[in-house]
Amino acid sequence: MSARVAVLGAGKVGTVLARLSVAAGRPTAIAGSGDPAALGLIVDVLAPGAVPMTSADAAAQADIVIVAVPLARLGTVPAAALRGRVVVDAMNYWPPVDGVLSAWEGATRSSSEIVREILGVDVVKSFNHMGYHELDAWTRPAGDPDRHALAVAGDDGAAMAAVSDLVDAMGFDPVPLHPLSAGRVLQPGSSDIFGADLTRAELLSTLDALGVAPAAVCP
C-alpha cells in the first residue's frame, strides 16, 4: 500500500505539496493551525481529495509527515505525534517573514539539524529549495529529459528512500544527499541551488562543483 502522507501547513507551499501528493495517488491529509473545518474551501479549491485534519491527527495516521509551516511557528507543531513517522522538513529560515529567530540566525549547521533538535525526531530535508510556483509547474513524468531534480538530504536510509519515492511519484528526480548536514547547500543564499531550474544532471554537477558528493544510493 502506498505511504499515507500528512502535510502540516496549508499555506502557499503546503497546499501545493498536498495537491501533488493526491495526484501521486497517496492518501493525503492536510492541516493548518486551526479548526480543520475552516480549511474546507481552501482544500476544495487547491488540493481536492486531501482530507483536512488537525495537525496531531494528520501526523498520527500518516507514514510520511511533511512539515511546511513558517519556522517561527515550529513550536506549535505537535512534536509528540511525529514520533515513529518519516518527517520531512520543507522549511527555510526566512527573516523577512519569520523575523530574526535566534535558533537559526547566523547558524553554521543546516537549518534542518536545528529543526531535528527542536522537534526531537529525525528529519529528512526536501522540497525546500524550490518555490511553490515551481513545485506546482515543474512536475514531469519519469524519463522526461527535462525532469527537474529535488534533493533529499537525511541520515536514515529507509526514511530517505521513502521520501525519494514520494518525490519521484510527485514528478521530480530525487537526488539523495547524506548526511542531513550536507543539505545546508540547499538553503537560501548558501549556494545557487535554491530557486534554480535544475535537472538531475545539472544538480549533480552543481553539487560536484560545491564539493558535495551525493549518496550513491540511500544509505
Binding site: G11, Y93, W94, P96
Partner: protein
C-alpha cells in the same frame, strides 16, 4: 480596466529630498498621461524613502487632478486603524475623493520593533485591525473591543472621507487564508504577482467563494494585481537595461545575497515578470486579466534605484503605449 503604478521610493544613489521630488513629478506626469492610480508603499528601512506614504500622497494630491491615491501596502498590523482612517479621510477630502488604502503584510518586519509590536502576534494584529478599519470606513461612530488596542465606545472618528465609503483593499501575497479573509469581509482584493499569474487563479476562486458564502454581493467584489514592471523600447533592450537594477534589488531577499543570477532573471521573465517591450507588457497584463478577472493592474515602476531618466522613459512607454492598448482590448 484601470492601470497604475506603485513605488516604494527605493533610495538609489540620490538624496531623499531628490527622490521624493522625482516621485511627485512622476505622479504628476502619470496623472496628466491619464493613468488611473498611483500607490505608495510603506517601509521602515534605509533603502526606501517612504515610511509615511500618506504625506507624499498629500503632496501628490495637490499637483494632480484625477489619479487615485493609494497605498501599497499600509502595514496595518503595526499601525492604529483609527489614525490610519483619519489620515486617509483627510487625504480623501483634500484630493476630492481620490484616496484608497491597501492593507497588507508588507515584505519586511522592521515596523514591529519600531512601534513595539510582537511579530508572533502578526495574525491577530492584522485580523483585528483590518476589521476595525473596515468598520471605521463604513460607520461614523464605532464601538469596538479586542486584544490589540484600547476599546472604543461609540467613538466618533473624524473627519469623514468625502467618498461615501473609503475604499480599503486587502493585499494578498499568495497565502490562501488571506484570500478567504478578503472574501469573507467582502473587501476588494489586491494580489501581488511577480512571475506566473496562473497559480493565483485558485486564490481568486477562493476569494469569490468565501464572499458568496458570507452573503456579499458579487457586484461589490474587485480583484487587482500588481508587481515589478519595466517597459523598454525593445524586448532585449528592456531585459538588459533593467537587469543590473533588478539583480541588486533582489539581493534584499534571502535567496540572492550576491544579487539575482541572470539565468534566474530570464527564467522569471519567461514565467511572467513584466519586463519587456510595450507589446510584451500588454500581453502579460491581458493574461492577468484573462486568468484572474482583474479590473486594475499596477506596476512597480521604479525598482532598484534606477536613475530618474530610465524610470521616466519606462513610465512614458507604459502610459502612452501600454495603457491605451490594454484599455481598448479590455473594454
Amino acid at each position: 480596466m484601470e492601470l497604475g503604478i506603485y513605488s516604494f521610493g527605493d533610495s538609489g544613489t540620490v538624496s531623499t529630498r531628490q527622490r521624493l521630488a522625482d516621485l511627485v513629478s512622476q505622479a504628476r506626469y502619470a496623472d496628466e498621461a491619464g493613468l488611473d492610480v498611483i500607490a505608495l508603499g510603506e517601509h521602515h528601512r534605509a533603502d526606501f524613502t517612504l515610511s509615511a506614504p500618506e504625506l507624499v500622497l498629500a503632496a501628490i494630491s495637490s499637483v494632480t487632478e484625477r489619479i487615485r491615491l493609494s497605498t501599497a501596502v499600509t502595514v496595518l498590523s503595526t499601525a492604529d486603524p483609527v489614525r490610519v482612517y483619519q489620515q486617509f479621510a483627510t487625504l480623501d477630502q483634500l484630493s476630492g475623493g481620490r484616496a484608497e488604502i491597501v492593507a497588507g503584510r508588507g515584505a519586511f518586519t522592521e515596523s514591529f520593533g519600531l512601534f513595539g509590536y510582537d511579530l508572533r502576534e502578526y495574525e491577530v494584529l492584522f485580523d483585528e485591525k483590518l476589521r476595525l478599519l473596515l468598520e471605521l470606513a463604513r460607520e461614523e461612530r464605532v464601538t469596538w473591543r479586542g486584544r490589540t488596542r484600547a476599546p472604543l465606545e461609540d467613538a466618533l472618528v473624524t473627519p469623514r472621507a468625502l467618498q461615501p465609503t473609503l475604499p480599503v483593499w486587502v493585499g494578498v501575497g499568495g497565502t490562501p487564508q488571506s484570500a478567504v479573509r478578503a472574501g469573507r469581509l467582502g473587501a476588494p482584493m489586491f494580489v501581488a504577482i511577480f512571475t506566473d499569474p496562473a497559480p493565483a487563479r485558485g486564490l481568486v476562486q477562493i476569494y469569490h467563494r468565501a464572499a458568496a458564502a458570507a452573503g456579499h454581493d458579487p457586484a461589490g467584489l474587485r480583484v487587482a494585481s500588481g508587481g515589478h514592471m519595466y517597459v523598454g523600447r525593445t524586448s532585449q533592450g528592456a531585459r538588459d537595461e533593467f537587469y543590473p537594477y533588478y539583480a541588486e534589488y533582489l539581493a534584499k531577499l534571502p535567496q540572492f545575497p550576491g544579487g539575482m543570477p541572470r539565468e534566474v532573471y530570464d527564467q522569471w521573465i519567461r514565467a511572467g515578470l513584466l519586463v519587456g517591450s510595450p507589446q510584451e507588457v500588454i500581453d502579460k497584463i491581458m493574461n492577468h486579466r484573462e486568468l484572474l478577472g482583474i479590473s486594475r493592474y499596477v506596476g512597480q515602476f521604479d525598482v532598484g534605484g534606477m536613475p530618474a531618466g530610465m524610470v521616466d522613459k519606462s513610465l512614458e512607454l507604459f502610459a502612452t503605449e501600454v495603457a491605451p492598448v490594454v484599455r481598448k482590448e479590455s473594454a
